[in-house]
């Protein structure tokens, strides 16, 4: 009932793990797969090992979490070993792998993408991390840089390429237009929203990086609006992400135009099997309303 097809790839359900949560090792991805996700997204992987920012890298605020992990990852070569270790098992479970990657420029993106390609079903371009200077949103806030990165990766690989967008821009359509022009196969929206928390007794920002990205319930309306706008303007599939805790939230994203969704912070609030729970809730809704998954995608626009 929840099977979907994105860019010719079959997914057993449209509820995926978002990048950044649990994805640092293969066994962590496997655990999430067992929690019922239709696909798991890796942490964003770069060319070289990166320890990320110092702690505190995360702090809870009303409505969600602020984080500034700083793109920690062991580098693509070592990370491929992590994926190799679990790939067969994920295949047996019929779970797809989305490989999130980052780089400082189009050459680096293309190089990592080429190495990653063989081991994943989709490549997701992190041009939206708000707290890693020179990476992520530094690229994704600039339409020209976004275009050249997407273009270079599209040229380098054959698997479908999705660009993950940052909401921290004045006009997201301008950025989305650039990446669609570059030929990406789909869009992922949204990455976290820039924010800061200060401890008034320590008299300092709590995150070591001072600011970070806000995830969780508070950003859902922001994500819904972005997905709505993307659906109005583009024909490529959209994966909605940002503050999804329940099947109802997922359906709201789908009605705005998302073909699939990703969950991050929800793992904290509802456990590693949130994916299964959200799928069950979507099924219940579809049965109640006598609708199919396909019918609800973008239904709010009609």
């Amino acid at each position: 009932m929840l099977k979907i097809n994105l860019c010719g790839i079959e997914f057993r359900n449209p509820v995926f793990l978002a990048s950044g949560i649990m994805g640092e090792t293969g066994s962590a991805l496997k655990r999430i797969a067992k929690g019922g996700a239709g696909a798991v997204t890796t942490k964003s992987i770069g060319l070289n090992p990166n320890p990320g920012h110092r702690n505190p890298t995360i702090v809870e605020v009303y409505g969600g979490f602020l984080n500034a992990m700083g793109l920690p990852n062991p580098g693509i070569d070592e990370y491929l070993e992590e994926i190799k270790g679990v790939r067969d098992e994920l295949n047996r479970m019929d779970i797809r792998i989305i490989g999130s990657i980052y780089g400082k420029d189009e050459e680096e993106f293309a190089e990592v993408a080429k190495k990653m390609e063989e081991y994943v079903d989709i490549i997701e371009l992190n041009i939206s991390c708000p707290h890693a200077k020179g990476y992520g949103a530094t690229i994704g806030q600039n339409p020209d840089l976004s275009y050249s990165v997407c273009k270079a990766v599209k040229k380098a690989v054959k698997v479908p390429v999705f660009a993950k967008l940052t909401p921290n821009v004045t006009d997201i359509i301008e950025i989305a237009q650039a990446v669609v022009d570059a030929g990406v196969d789909g869009l992922v929206a949204i990455n976290t929203v820039r924010g800061m928390a200060i401890d008034i007794k320590a008299k300092k920002p709590i995150l070591a990086n001072k600011f970070g990205g806000l995830s969780g319930r508070a950003i859902k309306p922001i994500g819904i609006k972005v997905v709505w706008d993307l659906y109005e303007n583009f024909d490529v599939p959209i994966i909605g992400v940002g503050g999804i805790m329940s099947g109802e939230d997922a359906i709201e994203y789908m009605m705005a135009g998302a073909s699939a969704v990703q969950i991050g912070s929800g793992v904290y609030y509802r456990g590693y099997d949130i994916f299964k729970k959200v799928c069950d809730e979507i099924i219940n809704f579809l049965k109640e309303e006598n609708l199919t998954l396909k019918e609800i995608v973008g239904i709010a626009h009609e």
């Binding site: 702090v59 605020v61 062991p74």
Partner: protein
Amino acid sequence: MEKPVICRIKEIIEESPTVKTFIIDKDFDFKPGQFAMLWLPGVDEKPFGFSSKNSFSVARVGNFTKKMHELKEGDIIGVRGPYGTYFEPMGDKVLAVAGGIGAAPIVTAVEEFSKQGVEITTILGARSKEELLFLDRFKKSGRLEICTDDGSFGFKGFTTEKMKEILKEERFDLIITCGPEIMMKKVVDIANEYNIPVQVSMERYMKCGIGICGQCCVDDEGLCVCKDGPVFWGDKLKFIKEFGKYKRDASGKKIYY
């Protein structure tokens, strides 16, 4: 809310040349073996086991702990926790094996267990006499066997040698252990040999401390040391293939023991 609670340091006790205990002005409702993320604003945030409801004992091993050791009474630290699983008593007789700073969570466990009427034997190991921790607290909680690497006090040799010696004579219902992973691996092997249930307290590089970032996930099943641990029963260890073999650094790169 998963955020640091700012605490003031009331008193600092020099336990040994390398270990200081920081007593803070707030009590935490912790269970033995649980930890908190300690935040030094401007420095870092790292996990430490509680050494009592209002104290942490910190061995100087790296930059963060060096900065901790420079703190003075009246300074502030952030405390986020308590987190994780804890040591649970089982049966009437418990053997505790503590190595180095692993004595901190173990002493809280044996104190709690002995309060509940459990008969305790602790094997406490350290490099030398002056590095032995919490001797008085251990003695008050039951029988204490001391081991030092250099023989400057008690039995000269490893805790695991002493453990074998004791197990030849006596039967225990449960073994608990905390210390260097290589030591704990041996403790688990010996416990299995004698068919005695065991609980170990593991340590891994941690970031979020609440089971979402994936930094401390252990192979092969992706258990989070911060949330599914740090205290694991022996039967769970079967799913932790990396135990005693390797750990990961802040980037996720494997470091073999």
